[in-house]
């Protein structure tokens, strides 16, 4: 080890984290676009893919974490966030590797964070929400008290405080980068804001949350239980005078 010259860890740079499972057809071009548009390191977290996702990401210039077991979208994202914490990155931007998030949106997130000073910025595209999603989100808004328009958008920016919270053990049993994550952040007193961005239909793959009605039903039940278990925490946060959304 002594042969390797140590360098100081980067303190204020950003890391783009892309969880990917079987996204070989799209991940390379998304990585290339992100690298072209942003001066950030890019990390692809390969969620035990059966195809050449890792190779495509590496070839496009990304660092790659290869999970030996599939952990799901949030497990892969948290691996990237833990990597960022370990390496001293001050910001993490997450986006999907399937091409639905336009890399051009990333500077918008950074600009919104610089403007608002929020700990978490969510890129949302309200226009893309289906009727079923609108109903689901309205239900979750009532249940959680979080005044957000899109609970599952994977296009997010986290600052150092959010990285610290989301690296912890408490976040490890969550399954999606959604309500549970937001409630955890809100409970830690962090500020969450949203900014409108443009999204396009997926080039390949499909939503892991909205894969089928059975999955949606299970998701809504899990989320309801999660919310009911944490409901007093959100109430406490609200009665303390803090608006969880701003």
């Amino acid at each position: 080890m002594s042969a390797i010259a140590p360098e100081p860890a980067k303190a204020a740079t950003c890391l783009v984290v892309m969880p990917a499972r079987d996204e070989a057809p799209t991940v390379g071009s998304v990585v290339a676009d992100v690298r072209r548009l942003l001066d950030c390191a890019v990390l692809v977290v390969d969620d035990a893919s059966a195809d050449a996702t890792s190779e495509a990401a590496s070839a496009a210039g990304a660092s790659v974490l290869r999970l030996p077991l599939g952990l799901g979208a949030w497990g892969a994202t948290q691996a990237g966030i833990r990597y960022a914490r370990r390496r001293g990155f001050g910001q993490v931007i997450t986006l999907d590797a399937d091409g639905q998030h336009l890399p051009e949106s990333l500077p918008v997130l950074l600009a919104e964070q610089a403007r608002s000073g929020a700990d978490v910025v969510i890129g949302t595209c309200v226009g893309r929400l289906s009727r079923a999603k609108r109903i689901a989100w309205q239900y979750l808004r009532v249940l959680t008290g979080l005044k957000l328009t899109d609970f599952t958008s994977g296009l997010r920016l986290y600052d150092a405080q959010a990285i610290e919270v989301l690296s912890g053990q408490e976040a490890s049993l969550l399954d999606y980068q959604d309500v549970g994550v937001l409630m955890l952040l809100s409970r830690a007193g962090l500020t969450i804001t949203e900014t409108p961005v443009t999204m396009v239909p997926r080039r390949a793959g499909r939503s892991r949350v909205f894969a089928s009605w059975r999955v949606v039903a299970r998701y809504m039940m899990h989320t309801t239980v999660l919310c009911l278990a944490q409901i007093d925490a959100v109430r406490r946060h609200r009665t303390a005078g803090a608006d969880p959304t701003c």
């Binding site: 790659v64 999970l67 030996p68 952990l71 833990r82 914490r85 370990r86 049993l173």
Partner: protein
Amino acid sequence: MLTGQITSAIIGIALAGAILFLVRRDHLHGPYALWWFGVAAATFALGVFPSLIAWLGRVTGIGYAPVLPIVVGLSLVLIRMLKLDIDRSRQERQIRRLTQKLAILEQELDRLGGRTSTPALPDDHTP
């Protein structure tokens, strides 16, 4: 024709014997062994001395004493199942974090074995 006492004694002794066998063969370890050892002792005692049930019924004020071991047994099974799910959740958390850490360390190994390096910050020492 077996009497009720002999039947209950056979069931109690067989169950207690099976549990003891598993504990001795190291198929159940630590707190699990202790729990099942207790269960084996209880089934043995209640099987061989069913009059204990009537005595317990009188002590606890339950009019129909034979229902007592069923209620207590079911409650213990539910508690055991709850504990199992708690343990499974804890293990699931540990497996997820270990999987993540394994991937991170593997990436660092690859990087250190290859080109440039940036030293890692001290981690949280959790799996």
